[in-house]
Every structure is written in structure tokens, then in C-alpha cells.
């Protein structure tokens, strides 16, 4: 298969998934709403001590983002599995891992990107200093694709099960923990005015690793789920 037709298949699939997401946009709001609600209810719940809020802020935003990403995972392959499109992908003449990458990318664009865009507002709400907002966005830019990529492996393994929700969280959550630790710590450190190169580099490393390995694992897992 030529390079060009592979690229065009990638773009076609990306466009298809974005079109589908746009036509069912009401469902897209759920993870974003969850993220905004949790992060904005937190300061109301713990009282008006700005120091306390600033101390828990990075953690709250990141935990909310992580759970929002997990909430949205199930939709990644579910409808394709149910209507038979997934079988067609597996029988494509292109490498399945590349098609998986297109799907994960589309999924991240509609679920991860909105989180990144509203995060600075929530940062202000949680009394984060201005200099930490940039780092917060940067950790989300590096971290949420990792969440989508790791999540895709879990979803691919559980898509054939009728009630895979609990198993999915059990599979995926332990792998999410490093992202959470380093990202929340980076925002904390930035809030104190200390450089965060170490944490950011680690997150970037995780992203590179996930980008290289997750699509292959997801493709194999889908093959197992379908057979």
C-alpha cells in the first residue's frame, strides 16, 4: 500500500470521526461538564480559605481531568463495534495501528482539547497563580493524549464485554497514576515559582512512549476482542 493512500485513509477516518462527533454533539458535553462541575464545586465545598484552595487546586483540576477522560473512553470503539464498522477496519488493507491512531486522535480532539481550553479559567477559580496557568495547560497538552492512548488499549480489551465498565477502570487507572503524579506536581512546583523541566520532560517521555506503543497494543487487543 502506498504512503499516500495510507495518509488519505488516516485523514478520512479522522474526518469521519469528527463528523460523527459533531452530529452527536450533545454527548460530547458530558465529560467537559463533569470536569467543569467538579473543579468549580470543590472550592465551594472546602470553604473560603484561599491558601487551602491554592494548595489543593492542581490536584483537583488534574483528578477531575483524569476522571473526565475516563468517562469519555467507552465511546471510543463502542458504536463501531456494535454496527460492524470495527470488523471493516480490521479487514482494511492499511495497518490497523495507524487507523487506531486516527481514531484516538479524533477522540482526543473532541474530549481532551476542550478540557485544555477551559482549564485556565478553572485555574483562576482555584486560586492558582498566573505563572502556574501556563504550566497547567502544558501538562494537560502532554498528559491528556497519554490518557486517551492508554485508555484506548483498555477500551479495545473490554469492547467485546457487555459490562466492561468496571474492568476498564481497573485496567486503566493504575496506568494513569504516573501521569497524575507528575502533572499535578509540575503545577504545584510552578505555583511556588520553581522550574518544572523535570516533570515536563517526564510527561513528554510518557507521551512519546504511549504514542509509539499504545496503537500497536490497541490493534492487537481489538483483534482479540473481535475473534
Amino acid at each position: 500500500m502506498s504512503q499516500r493512500s495510507l495518509t488519505s485513509a488516516f485523514v478520512l477516518l479522522l474526518r469521519r470521526d469528527l463528523t460523527l462527533a459533531y452530529r452527536r454533539r450533545a454527548e460530547l458535553m458530558n465529560p467537559l461538564l463533569f470536569f467543569v462541575l467538579v473543579s468549580s464545586l470543590f472550592p465551594l465545598g472546602i470553604g473560603s480559605n484561599p491558601k487551602l484552595i491554592a494548595a489543593v487546586g492542581p490536584g483537583v483540576i488534574w483528578v477531575a481531568a483524569l476522571l473526565a477522560a475516563m468517562l469519555s473512553l467507552d465511546s471510543m470503539f463502542r458504536s463501531d463495534f456494535e454496527d460492524g464498522s470495527l470488523e471493516q477496519f480490521m479487514l482494511s488493507s492499511h495497518p490497523v495501528s495507524i487507523l487506531v491512531l486516527a481514531k484516538v486522535f479524533a477522540h482526543w480532539l473532541v474530549t481532551g482539547l476542550p478540557l485544555i481550553l477551559v482549564a485556565p479559567l478553572l485555574g483562576v477559580l482555584l486560586a492558582l497563580p498566573t505563572e502556574a496557568l501556563g504550566v497547567l495547560m502544558l501538562t494537560l497538552v502532554l498528559g491528556t493524549p497519554v490518557l486517551s492512548l492508554i485508555g484506548s488499549v483498555g477500551v479495545a480489551l473490554t469492547v467485546g464485554l457487555r459490562r466492561g465498565g468496571v474492568i476498564l477502570s481497573l485496567l486503566v487507572l493504575p496506568l494513569y497514576v504516573p501521569v497524575l503524579i507528575f502533572a499535578a506536581d509540575a503545577v504545584h512546583t510552578a505555583a511556588q515559582g520553581i522550574p518544572t523541566t523535570a516533570q515536563i520532560s517526564f510527561l513528554a517521555g510518557l507521551l512519546a512512549l504511549a504514542l509509539a506503543l499504545a496503537p500497536l497494543a490497541t490493534a492487537s487487543s481489538l483483534r482479540v476482542s473481535l475473534s
Binding site: 485513509a9 469521519r16 463528523t19 454496527d83 460492524g84 471493516q88 479487514l91 482494511s92 492499511h94
Partner: protein
């Protein structure tokens, strides 16, 4: 010319042996028609022939090579139509076909409108697939077979929910495909009227 063959295939499901020692050879212009009771393993066999499912024993060969080793190289020669249509209901027939064309090895001599016209869906390319009837959705799935350069069609009950005219249309498309040197493997409860070839029949219940 390509050859498609199975050697000693065995399929076990829930501790029941559905079939074993299954053998066949299929050449250009031939069709394999699978018969058998419900639950006799027709769908499982077709999924094995696609390479979606692994057989418990035996091999499926394309030009003498194991299809599981060929992988995507084999997939560019086949088109599969399963129980599920594989259409996205929120997309239009045109969008569905464009995606299918991008996934396979696209045919240059046939555009989407002609393909839709051939299955009797001309004028429906911009209607949401959700609004089509079950038979029309099946026809759209069949149009997918036409737009790629697949040699081997693997079809699981292709006539489901088609009306009499639809069945005639599909039979004609089969004949054209086989006459061009294509191959087909299918299951059906319908008495299929193929003109050009002697069909190879395998009864899995026997």
C-alpha cells in the same frame, strides 16, 4: 490468477466441534456456498476465512500462503459483509462509501454514484443512513463490495431484508463479479440463481 483454499480447518466453540477436517479449493470465477442448520458454524467459518477469527487447527491459503502471515496484504483482496451492515447510521450513504473506499484498495473505474445506482440507491447519497429502510441499508452494504478492487467476496447472508427485486440485483452483481474472474464465499438460506458457474457447495450439518 489467484487461488483460495482451506486445509484441514477445525473450529471449536464452547467445547463443541462445529467442523473439522474442512477442505476446499476455489479458483477464479467460482463461488463457495455454505449450507447447514442454524448454529452449524457457517458464520464462524466465514470469519475464519476473513482472518478475523483463528481456526483451532488448519490453514487458510491465498495463493498458497497462510492468510494470517499475509495480513493486510490479504485483506486488500477481500471484501466482507457480515451480519451487521457496517454502516454508520449518522453518516450519509455517500460518506459511508467514501470511508469504505479509503479503507480498501479503491477502484478507479467506478465512482460512488454509479455504485449506489447499481444497488438501486441512486438519489439517496445525501440522506442520513438512519432514515433508510433495513433493505436499503443492506443494499448500501452491498455497494461497498463494488467500490474496492476485492477479488474475493465473503458474504454472510447477503440477502437478509432484501426484496425480490433487490435479490435479483445482487445476483446479477455476483454473476458480473464471478464472470470477471472474482470469487465468492457465502452463506444463504435463499436458493441462489448463479448463471455462470458451478457453485461449490459445502454442507456443514452433514
Amino acid at each position: 490468477m489467484s487461488r483460495f483454499a482451506a486445509r484441514d480447518l477445525e473450529c471449536i466453540r464452547d467445547d463443541r466441534t462445529l467442523f473439522s477436517g474442512l477442505h476446499f479449493d476455489l479458483g477464479a470465477g467460482q463461488a463457495l456456498v455454505l449450507e447447514g442448520r442454524n448454529g452449524s458454524g457457517k458464520t464462524s467459518l466465514l470469519r475464519i476465512l476473513c482472518g478475523i477469527r483463528l481456526p483451532e487447527a488448519g490453514k487458510v491459503l491465498w495463493d498458497g500462503e497462510d492468510i494470517f502471515k499475509l495480513g493486510a496484504e490479504y485483506h486488500q483482496h477481500i471484501a466482507y459483509l457480515g451480519h451487521k451492515d457496517g454502516n454508520k447510521l449518522d453518516l450519509t450513504p455517500g460518506e459511508n462509501l467514501r470511508m469504505a473506499k479509503g479503507l480498501g484498495k479503491a477502484r478507479d473505474d467506478l465512482d460512488l454514484e454509479t455504485a449506489l445506482d447499481q444497488v438501486g440507491l441512486y438519489g439517496f447519497e445525501d440522506v442520513p443512513t438512519r432514515n433508510l429502510s433495513a433493505g436499503q441499508q443492506r443494499r448500501l452494504a452491498i455497494a461497498r463490495l463494488l467500490i474496492t478492487d476485492a477479488i474475493l467476496w465473503i458474504l454472510d447472508e447477503p440477502f437478509t431484508s432484501l426484496d425480490r427485486q433487490g435479490i435479483a440485483v445482487v445476483e446479477k452483481l455476483f454473476d458480473q463479479h464471478l464472470a470477471k474472474g472474482g470469487m465468492a464465499a457465502l452463506t444463504t438460506h435463499h436458493r441462489i440463481n448463479l448463471q455462470v458457474t458451478q457453485a461449490l457447495r459445502i454442507n456443514l450439518s452433514a
